[in-house]
């Protein structure tokens, strides 16, 4: 009988495989364990600590050789914990108290983990999982528990929490998918799965109990759906989906190295929107030609204090390096009252989208802005970086930022930190004011990038998440198209480049119009790149211009859409 469950899809893709329960209970082993003399138990702890530290050291080396820096850093932290004198001392004390070496090891790890769990800082709280993982590993060594046996077929790993050590130690081709009880998407197991593109569903909670070792399961990492013991019908449906997934992947892989070029040779650069420096590698596999929008918010969120210049520099440097000489556009902090940060102290606002946000905060809070600018200028040394300012409405803001950039350079020179003098400075065109003033703004910047999500919202006065008015939200609305065209024209007239990084850029129909308007670059979430590229490669620029001319005569967004769907 097929049972279906639903969790939170965190890493897209479909997987079929037999379940391997991990994070297994040691209770049975502990009950069977024969305790020897205290001296002998103490010696066992000592030997296990040494052996596990060596195994971890070996893991670190292997992961470094395979160029997996995130995973090797996690294993290095585990090694330090296994060799920690406080941990060793507390294990010794526990042997004296409990007698059994493996129980002592687990109790000592639990105690340290509990101490970390009570800390205020989220980073430290999450380290508790790592400490318990190390403890369990040492206990398993003493108990002689083998790591889960792997056959030839890839398995679906399943557990409430999967210890990073377990997942890091299994070769990628042996893991079909991952099912997690806990719901955090920042835990180490998820980070490792993401780096390896393993389909993952998390947040299953108690539902996990209905999954047994060896069950055949299907999981869809996009929708979060899971089928246990699927019928032959469901299986064949999903096998077809996997087949299609593979075919699409192969087709996209073929497309990846090809340019987004019309049949008569007009090129548009397709770049990726990313949220963290870790996304660049995956984006490259879709054939992006650089990063058109690096949302720097992630360095500001999920923490209780202002990120340092050094923290930011590391993240930006990595992203810039991974772009391998292609442009990496870093947008400065774009946060406002809708997603407040404790250390920003944004007062409650009636209208956060018309309030103190983005560049308006940056210009007032230079303690936040200057380190960010310095970090980007320094990252520029490692490739081709650009600074992009969000929410600009006038020339004064640009001039102020340029002054701050000059001051930042003086500071960097004084601190003897190398920085790049060739970092482009551009703005997001996402307010009607900026779009209307582009002929003036173009004289002060190196590029424009049209942010359609906000531009549509502000131009049409529509909140897209308000379901009573969301039907009005439309990037084909002639008012929006007119502002977009004006922006591209202003860039061309002034010899700078114009791009787009809003959702409109990932709409293949819109992409054809934008290309006809003369846009230089389109930036989108990486998985959208192949579809847009396919569309652009299928048409000539002459045909696209004809279509654009007709579209500009039409009076309504609905008509425009209908015309495009019928003629493209």
């Amino acid at each position: 009988m097929t049972e279906s469950l639903r969790g939170k899809g965190v890493i897209a893709g479909i997987a079929i495989g037999k379940v391997l329960l991990v994070g297994q209970s040691l209770d049975g082993y502990l009950a069977d364990y024969k305790v020897e003399s205290e001296a002998s138990e103490l010696a066992k702890v000592e030997a296990a600590l040494k052996a596990v530290a060596e195994i971890l050291q070996d893991n670190v080396k292997k992961l470094q050789e395979r160029n997996m820096p995130e995973q090797s850093a996690i294993m290095e932290a585990h090694r330090m914990m296994a060799q920690d004198p406080m941990m060793a001392q507390s294990m010794h004390d526990k042997v004296k108290e409990l007698g059994s070496a493996p129980r002592a090891v687990l109790a000592a790890a639990d105690e340290s983990a509990a101490m970390f769990e009570s800390m205020d800082d989220a980073y430290f709280r999450e380290r508790a999982v790592d400490i318990r993982d190390v403890g369990k590993r040492i206990a398993k060594y003493i108990l002689g528990v083998k790591e889960p046996a792997l056959g030839d077929a890839a398995v679906v790993l399943c557990g409430h929490e999967i210890e990073p050590s377990v997942i890091a130690n299994i070769p990628t081709d042996k893991i079909a998918g991952v099912l997690l009880g806990q719901g955090s998407t920042t835990c180490h197991a998820v980070i490792i799965a993401k780096a390896r593109a393993i389909p993952t569903v998390a947040g299953l909670g108690d539902k996990l109990a209905s999954i047994q070792d060896g069950d055949l399961v299907i999981l869809d990492g996009e929708t979060g759906e899971i089928f246990i013991d699927p019928t032959e019908d469901i299986l064949s449906t999903y096998r077809i989906k996997i087949q299609k997934q593979l075919e699409r992947k192969a087709y996209y892989a073929q497309l990846a190295p090809l340019p987004a070029e019309t049949t008569d040779g007009v090129r548009v650069e397709l770049m990726a929107n990313i949220g963290t420096h870790l996304d660049v590698d995956a984006a490259m596999t879709y054939g992006c030609e650089g990063v058109g929008l690096f949302r720097s918010e992630f360095v500001f969120m999920g923490r209780e204090e202002i990120p340092t210049e050094e923290d930011q520099f590391k993240a930006y440097k990595e992203a810039v390096e991974k772009c391998k000489g292609k442009l990496c556009v870093i947008r400065t902090m774009d946060i406002g009252g809708d997603k407040p940060l404790a250390y920003l102290n944004i007062p409650k606002e009636d209208n956060p989208f018309l309030g103190w946000r983005a560049i308006r905060i940056s210009l007032m809070r230079q303690d936040l802005f200057v380190p960010q600018i310095k970090a980007i200028l320094r990252a520029g040394v490692y490739g081709k970086a650009a600074i992009m300012l969000p929410m600009v409405i006038n020339v004064a803001e640009i001039k102020q930022v340029k002054e701050i950039i000059e001051q930042a350079k003086v500071q960097l020179a004084h601190e003897e930190k190398p920085y790049s003098d060739n970092v482009q400075v551009g703005i997001m065109v996402e307010t009607p004011a900026a779009a209307i003033m582009t002929p003036v703004l173009a004289k002060h910047v190196d590029f424009f990038s049209i942010g359609t999500n906000d531009l549509v919202q502000y131009t049409l006065a529509v909140d897209r998440v308000n379901h009573n008015v969301s039907y009005l939200y439309d990037h084909f609305n002639p008012a929006v198209l007119s502002l977009v065209q004006r922006t591209i024209q202003a860039a061309r007239d002034n010899g700078i480049w114009a791009g787009m990084c809003g959702e409109m850029a990932s709409d293949p129909y819109a992409a054809v119009l934008l290309m006809a308007m003369g846009i230089h670059e389109l930036s989108m979430s990486a998985p959208s790149i192949p579809r847009v590229k396919e569309k652009i490669r299928s048409i000539s620029s002459t045909k696209a211009k004809e279509i654009l001319e007709t579209v500009l005569q039409l009076e309504d967004g609905g008509e425009i859409k209908e015309y495009l769907y019928n003629h493209l």
Binding site: P85, E305, D311, P371
Partner: protein, 87 residues
Amino acid sequence: MEQTVKVTNKSGIHARPASVFVQTAAKFKSKVTVTAKGKTVDAKSILMIMSMGLVKDTEIVIKAEGEDASAAVKALVDLVQAKFGEE
């Protein structure tokens, strides 16, 4: 051999600085301790160091006993004063 030093990097002796601190301490044969807020811990223990919550502006006493005590204290004081290469 001991010396008092003030933590001046913004994030304090947090994750990365703690591991650099402990790795440096572990290079020396001497027994090395850190005292702050009335608590003394082993400087070679990442768990102990992290559990101290050494934020910016905390005064800490680094103490070493053994053949390379003065070199150990100097290396660790230098590290703290250089802000662990951070801000």
